[in-house]
Symmetry: C2
Subunit: 186 residues, 2 copies
């Protein structure tokens, strides 16, 4: 496919802001017509999200976490996940975040895909995995400022509830789309 009429030439960047969780830079780019424009971009470490499926006495459930979110100032019921640490692979990060938050371990993670959380303004990626054949661990392993409830929610309730509170995290919905696209979900 001919796409040269859509391609911008990315140029120089300069950092404008830096915090512990992300930084902001301004970047110059030249349009397909050759005009220069400035864009603001957020840099952050990559993120991981895990879709954990558990067979229970009430049928197939997703293992989800309920926690306060400081951006939207509300409780969110979402798939476990977090920020990758330096030196770990996406799969290692996913496995670690999943175990720490839920106190379950998966024999193996299955990749569901990689996406940009928001390619318009963010440069990092989010890596999605499915976790099956879960075994319980003794307890969660949370940071001292993490307060996270673990809940087992029937798959149909998650699919039908997405987009209404407490299912308000768009990256959890994105993970669900990948899971549904790769798996026969009833």
């Amino acid at each position: 496919m001919e796409t040269s009429h859509l391609i911008w030439k990315e140029g120089e960047s300069r950092q404008l802001f830096r915090s512990k969780v992300f930084s902001i830079r301004e970047t110059e780019s030249r349009s397909p017509r050759g005009e220069s424009r400035l864009f603001t971009v957020m840099d952050a470490p990559d993120w991981v999200i895990v879709v954990p499926l558990l067979e229970t006495e009430k049928g197939p459930c997703f293992v989800m976490v309920r926690q306060w979110r400081h951006g939207s100032r509300e409780l969110s019921l979402e798939f476990p996940g977090g920020v990758m640490e330096k030196g770990e692979s996406a799969e290692e990060g996913a496995k670690r975040e999943f175990e720490e938050e839920t106190a379950y371990r998966a024999a193996k993670l299955r990749t569901l895909g990689d996406m940009s959380p928001n390619p318009a303004i963010m440069s990092n990626r989010v890596h999605f995995y499915a976790a099956e054949n879960l075994t319980p661990l003794r307890s969660q392993n949370l940071d001292e400022d993490e307060f996270v409830d673990v809940e087992r929610i029937p798959v149909g309730d998650v699919i039908g509830g997405m987009g209404k509170p407490p299912f308000i995290h768009a990256l959890t919905a994105a993970a669900l789309a990948l899971y549904m696209g790769r798996t026969a979900v009833s």
Copy 2:
């Protein structure tokens, strides 16, 4: 459900950075155990995303847009959408962005839900709609720095392709999850 052990008390904020598309603030919050912590939050206008379905000679298709994204520095094939303008409702913004980018008009938009693009670090919402019964307009109505191809992609190709290039936009995947949850999709 008893959730008081999860609830933080949000306190004062101060702005740290401001650009045309978003601003950054630091906000203090008191944990369920009463300890004070600082968090960094991005404020931005709300966004809208439209899932447009079109019956074609090759079966049901989504109307999608292919464009360069300056955060991830790549082409993205995604549902139309954008930033709400001051004074317009979410549905008006969705209708406007859909018409400007795709040159289609929908008799009516159907709401699919509202979510937070990332409730951990963002305070705004993204509003999702489905568009059906489309009629073609004469032409796109793009800003002079927008370069957008309109493509009709079979529904199954979008569901199966999500999470691999060019389907790299997580908010497009989130929209698909809401659409699949509200609609029987084959």
